[in-house]
């Protein structure tokens, strides 16, 4: 099993939240406390308590200057979770278990930061039973996690992810996508396009058993988790190399697409390196 998730996962954003509500993130709201942002005349910012004497005196026109401070605002954190058939893969680890761990940690981190947390689970449609609407409450978190851990993905497709992207709202928020990203190129592009207004953190869940540690020789019958189609494979080094080349090509396409739309994707293979994930999120870029 994976290492027990740490309680907190501080995440950073490099943009300013427009939310009015106070929070832990940089904001477009200016207020009385927090980081110094700029100076304004009293006419612009009618808060005589924050008159900056030094600037006022320095002003040859004798305008009264007031110091403006940046308010800390909250943001919305949304986890888009791919629960299509392929996420049911159980190789070196259960992909759904990894996804549930991530959900647990992000939910806790968002709560701690005072942000809202929402989760949308989707395959070819959004699963309302698994999804959680934006909330700051802890109520329902246990139920959500239990449901996620128990869920056995069976349906195909990931078009529901695009649908879920539409539910997030127009206000810029942090969107974490947890998926194996085994979507078609068209679907991938549609998904990133739908999320273009948000800060997107793609987390790709992979497994060594589906690529790196494939046997070099042998016979096996594969059953596609999405389509149920079967295929007999006579594995040999040449074919294995070919497979790995294809898988790598797919991954490369995804990485370049993700980078174009925002953050570099974070990749999880078999187990979640929490410290690296923390660093990745803290970097904010």
């Amino acid at each position: 099993m994976t290492v027990a998730p740490p309680v907190d996962l501080p995440y950073q954003i490099i943009w300013r939240s427009r939310a009015l509500r106070q929070g832990a993130h940089r904001s477009t709201q200016s207020g009385a406390g927090g980081l110094f942002r700029d100076l304004a005349t009293l006419l612009e910012h009618r808060d005589p308590r924050r008159i900056d004497l030094r600037q006022t005196l320095r002003d040859p026109f004798g305008m009264l200057h007031v110091r403006r401070f940046e308010e800390r605002s909250q943001i919305g954190v949304t986890l888009l979770l791919d629960v299509s058939g392929s996420m049911g893969f159980h190789g070196a680890a259960r992909k759904m278990a990894l996804a549930a761990d991530l959900a647990q940690v992000f939910a806790a981190a968002a709560r701690r930061a005072g942000d809202t947390f929402a989760l949308y689970a989707a395959d070819d449609q959004v699963h309302d039973a698994l999804s959680v609407p934006p909330t700051r409450s802890r109520t329902g978190e246990e139920t959500m996690l239990a449901a996620l851990r128990a869920y056995v993905p069976k349906r195909k497709g990931a078009s529901g992810l695009v649908e879920a992207a539409g539910k997030i709202g127009r206000k810029r928020s942090l969107v974490v996508i947890v998926s194996d990203f085994l979507l078609s190129e068209v679907q991938l592009e549609a998904l990133f396009a739908a999320l273009s207004g948000h800060d997107v953190v793609p987390i790709r869940v992979a497994d060594t058993r589906e690529s790196a540690t494939l046997p070099s020789w042998g016979l096996f019958e594969l059953a596609d988790l999405e389509t149920g189609r079967r295929r007999l494979v006579v594995m040999r080094p040449a074919l294995k190399a070919e497979w790995q080349r294809r898988i790598e090509a797919r991954r490369a396409f995804f990485r370049s697409l993700a980078a174009r739309h925002g953050r570099e994707p974070f990749e999880i293979t078999d187990r979640i390196a929490w410290d690296r994930l923390g660093a990745h999120l803290a970097a904010g870029a």
């Binding site: 996420m87 159980h90 589906e210 016979l219 019958e221 594969l222 059953a223 006579v234």
Partner: protein, 333 residues
């Protein structure tokens, strides 16, 4: 070669052979996505080999269980022989010896002697088709034309049972001709009449026989088992005696046969040796080419069917041994 099944009902099981085409014997292993991995021709070929091996094994087992065999064939061969109808007199006088007494001690009745020699004759004639008819008061169809020697021997064996009262040669001959008529092959046709006497043939029956004999060539042999001291075929009436069929039936029957214009020979035998000579003579004469059928017994192909099934199973077993797991079973949760 044609094939047959002892239990054709097993063919109802044949759809089972489609099962391997639907599902393989390998353990399906889940994989996230195989959709964009191109199919590999080697794998596809091996896949079909395995499916067909499974279908082959099931089919071969079903056919083997059903008792697959190569049908017995009959090959036409050419040999020497004829299609013979034995027309046997079963009147009670046949039960006597050649001396005209009831057999006693080591003596052999006429029918017993004839039976012994006829059986010998049948056994030596390999390719003949033989039918048996009997006559006494009425004609009796005994055995159809057959190549089953055992059956013919059994019919000849029955001839020394006590017979009936009269000798109705005419109707007997008509029956023998009927039996030859039913046979359409171009083989030489022979009627061997075995009797110890003759009788008057009705005018009507005579005419019928004449037309029947005229219709197709038939070689007629009359093996006349003459009792010592009775008039024979070649006896001429003593002066003053009547020369009528009633008085001298043998002489007149012989004349009737000669008048038919067919290949006809009469053998007059007064003792078992003479009967033997006559039969040997008939055997010598009837050596025209004949197409006969030789049966090739049906060949049991069960073993071969099972061997084919074994080949299929070994292929499947080899595939099973080559099977690997992406995820070792020991890691199953």
């Amino acid at each position: 070669m044609n094939f047959g099944l002892s239990t054709p009902m097993v063919l109802l099981l044949l759809p089972l052979a489609l099962l391997p085409l639907l599902r393989s014997a390998q353990v399906p292993q889940n994989f996230p996505s195989i959709e964009d991995i191109e199919t590999d021709p080697v794998s596809v070929a091996v896949d079909w080999v395995l499916r067909l091996a499974g279908a082959l094994a099931i089919t071969a087992l079903i056919l083997g269980i059903g008792g697959l065999h190569g049908l017995g064939r009959t090959i036409e061969k050419t040999g020497e022989g004829a299609h013979i109808v034995l027309l046997i007199d079963r009147s009670s006088s046949m039960d006597n010896t050649f001396a005209g007494r009831a057999p006693e001690g080591g003596e052999e009745s006429k029918s017993a002697a004839a039976r012994r020699l006829l059986k010998d004759f049948i056994l030596r004639r390999q390719h003949d088709l033989v039918g048996v008819a009997a006559f006494s008061t009425s004609p009796m169809h005994v055995l159809p034309m057959t190549e089953h020697k055992e059956a013919v021997l059994a019919a000849v064996d029955a001839m020394d049972r006590p017979g009936l009262a009269f000798t109705n040669v005419g109707r007997g001959l008509a029956l023998a001709l009927d039996m030859q008529e039913a046979d359409t092959s171009p083989a030489a046709r022979v009627v061997v009449l075995v009797s110890d006497g003759a009788a008057v043939i009705d005018r009507k029956v005579q005419d019928a026989l004449r037309t029947a004999f005229a219709r197709r060539p038939i070689n007629l042999y009359w093996l006349f088992l003459r009792t010592e001291g009775t008039p024979g075929i070649s006896s001429v009436p003593a002066p003053g005696e009547e020369d009528t069929p009633q008085a001298m039936p043998e002489r007149h029957l012989d004349r009737f046969f000669k008048s038919l214009g067919i290949s006809y020979r009469a053998f007059e035998a007064e003792n078992p040796e003479a009967v033997g000579h006559a039969i040997a003579e008939i055997s010598k004469l009837e050596r025209s080419p004949i197409t006969y059928t030789e049966r090739i017994p049906h060949e049991d192909l069960k073993g071969r069917a099972f061997a084919v099934a074994l080949v299929g199973l070994l292929i499947l077993l080899a595939a099973k041994l080559a099977e690997v797991r992406l995820v070792p079973a020991t890691e199953g949760a």
